[in-house]
């Protein structure tokens, strides 16, 4: 009885020890990779942030409208710092996935393989979204300025429509790139965009019937506009 009890205890201890011995190198490897990832991430973050500041990335971002777009999204940090954070987490996630692979020797490289498979598409999608966002802000601003300078009272509405139109297109492209409900996104985008154009046409046709007629008549008959034409020479 005593021997049996002793064997059970020793077997349990030996088994745990063996399991620990099997896991421990992987655990240590994971911890090492996590520390290495954090360290490398921190180093690259520092280098990239300084490099971005050296090439005046923050001021250029203001010009491109990135800073104001970030501010609208509630992000007040300078773009160079955001770039640093992104690089840090990118490197850290890569090392973390290697760490998980090291911890699970039964399926070596599984997490890394998934990451390698997904990462390019995620990066491409993020890039599409970022560029779409920048173009949307630029287009919105351009439409706003052109409309105000043309004296169109609905300038802000037009600017918002232009901005959201581009954003909608960018989001649809991003989702398609990620492979999320391709058909659904395509149909939703076609419906939204077609609906938007239809709504604008309908609104103009019904609400501004008189105006539409006046514009068409003036254009076709080359009649002068309702306002006296200036002949002021600005230059």
């Amino acid at each position: 009885m005593t021997d049996f009890w002793r064997d059970l205890v020793w077997t349990a201890i030996r088994g745990t020890g063996e399991r620990l011995a099997a896991i421990l190198p992987g655990l240590l490897a994971m911890l090492t990779l996590l520390v290495l990832g954090a360290l490398l991430g921190w180093m690259f973050r520092l280098i990239l942030t300084r490099l971005a500041r050296a090439v005046d990335f923050d001021r250029r971002s203001e010009t491109w409208g990135l800073t104001s777009a970030l501010a609208r999204a509630g992000i007040r940090r300078p773009p160079s710092a955001i770039l640093g954070v992104l690089v840090f987490w990118g490197i850290f996630v890569i090392f973390a996935s290697m760490g998980i692979d090291a911890l699970l020797p039964a399926a070596p490289g599984a997490t890394g393989a998934v990451l390698v498979q997904i990462l390019p598409r995620v990066l491409a999608a993020a890039l599409i979204l970022l560029v779409g966002w920048l173009i949307a802000n630029f287009a919105g601003q351009a439409v706003l300025l052109a409309s105000v300078n043309a004296g169109i009272p609905e300038a802000r509405l037009l600017a918002r429509a232009a901005r959201w139109g581009v954003l909608l297109f960018a989001v649809a492209t991003t989702l398609t790139q990620l492979g999320i409900g391709r058909e659904m996104v395509l149909v939703a985008f076609a419906l939204s965009f077609g609906g938007l154009v239809f709504a604008v046409s309908l609104a103009f046709g019904l609400g501004g019937r008189g105006l539409a007629r006046e514009i068409l008549e003036r254009r076709l008959r080359r009649e002068p506009g309702p306002h006296p034409k200036e002949t002021i020479t600005h230059l």
Binding site: T63, G65, N149, G151, K229, E230, T231, H234, L235
Partner: protein, 422 residues
């Protein structure tokens, strides 16, 4: 820098002419209605005032489709016996050439400078091809000061309607004068005289693939002449009347082009203008006299409506350029009645300088920045028109001079902020 090649036919003409004393350049694009008059005026002017000089008229055309080039090539010159006391020793040669490169007045000028360089001319004049008020004496006034060694660069001085040239009067003249310290009243006049040597300097500048080739060539030439230390003068040409067009239609393009050129040049020539205070007059040749000018209908209500709309719709953009107190001051302007609307000169000068600073600091995309200035410019123009509605020419001129003084007085603000944002 390598020059763009000239067409073979032009090369042949240049070889035949050899060298010349004087050159008149006429850039054109679809100016069939007026270019014949300009060419005849040039030929008569050269024949009458410079009968002993070998002269060439160069038409640099941007691909006209209305027969402009054919008109220049075949324009019958005036019966010289009726307009000249003495006959010219050699008939005026004519070169008609399409220009290469970026479409625009700048590229047209580049071809003219190239020909001037090849012919080793002593003096050049350039005139717009849409002028209706141009007369033969203009060419004497533009060329004589250069030919006699009084000046390297001749700027025009016109008599214009009090509401004409509002970008010149409200932005370009006061800004150029305050920055570079020279009182050139029409820095973007369109008609200029300059030496062959200065034409070579212009030609050698690496700007022909930039926006200068497209637009802004006038202010670029004037500023370059000042910055290069050329001897300057102005000549009084009388009234300037263009061919009928709709100038209000492309205000955005004009504003963007001209003001952006001024701001770009301020970047290039910072060492020239920084720290310079006051301004000095530039010698004037010719005999200023009153002339009749065509009436100019203006739509002040439309200008004010765009200014007011800008205050509400563009506030977010303006906040990136203008400080809060200035924006508040602008907000106060919108509240009053139409007749009481008044934008003070000091306020306008600060607005222009703030936009120059925003351009320097790249706060917004360049095109957007300049377009954001338009409602403010229209507000200022409306204010000027309302104030000067019943004023005479002298009073208006005094008012413009007052604005130029304010620009000079406000310049330290520009300098202080400029270095901060560098």
């Amino acid at each position: 820098m390598s020059a763009a090649p000239l067409p073979e036919a032009v090369e042949g003409q240049l070889a035949e002419i050899g060298r010349a004393d004087l050159l008149v350049g006429i850039p054109s694009y679809n100016n069939a209605r007026t270019v014949g008059h300009v060419v005849r005026a040039a030929a008569a002017g050269l024949g009458k005032y410079f009968p002993d000089a070998k002269a060439v008229i160069v038409n640099s055309d941007g691909g006209s489709t209305d027969g402009t080039r054919e008109i220049v090539a075949t324009a019958e010159l005036p019966d010289l016996a009726t307009v000249l006391v003495s006959h010219p020793a050699t008939p005026v040669a004519r070169i008609v050439t399409p220009y290469h490169g970026i479409p625009g007045k700048g590229s047209a000028f580049r071809a003219i400078f190239q020909i001037a360089d090849r012919l080793d001319v002593r003096a050049c004049a350039v005139v717009d091809s849409d002028l209706r008020s141009i007369t033969p004496p203009w060419f004497e006034l533009l060329l004589r000061p250069v030919l006699e060694g009084h000046a390297d660069y001749v700027a025009p001085l016109y008599h214009r309607h009090k509401f004409d040239g509002t970008i010149t009067n409200g932005v370009v003249y006061p800004l150029t004068r305050a920055l570079y310290g020279k009182q050139i009243r029409q820095p973007i006049g369109g008609e200029f005289g300059f030496s062959g040597e200065l034409a070579r300097v212009f030609l050698g500048k690496p700007v022909w693939e930039t926006d200068v080739a497209r637009f802004g060539i006038d202010i670029w030439m004037t500023t370059t002449a000042i910055a290069e230390g050329s001897r300057l003068c102005q000549v009084y040409l009388g009234a300037k009347i263009h061919d009928a067009k709709d100038p209000g239609a492309d205000l955005s393009a004009m504003m963007t082009q001209v003001v952006a050129s001024c701001f770009d040049l301020a970047e290039i020539y910072e060492p020239v203008w920084f720290g310079r205070r006051g301004s000095e007059s530039v010698p004037l040749f010719g005999f200023p006299h009153a002339v009749g000018v065509e009436p100019v209908p203006v739509n002040v209500d439309r200008m004010l409506a765009i200014f007011r709309q800008g205050l509400t719709d563009l506030r977010e953009l303006w906040e990136k350029v203008l400080p809060a107190p200035l924006l508040d001051a602008l907000g106060g302007l919108a509240e009053g009645a139409r007749e009481a609307f008044h934008m003070a000169d000091a306020l306008w000068a600060e607005i222009v300088y703030r936009f120059a600073l925003a351009h320097h600091a790249r706060v917004l995309p360049r095109d957007h920045l300049l377009r954001a200035l338009i409602p403010l410019y229209l507000g200022r123009t409306a204010s000027f028109i309302l104030e000067m509605w019943d004023a005479g020419a002298e009073e208006v001129e005094a008012r413009i001079e007052g604005l130029a003084h304010i620009f000079e007085e406000t310049k330290p603000l520009l300098e202080a902020e400029w270095r901060r944002s560098s």
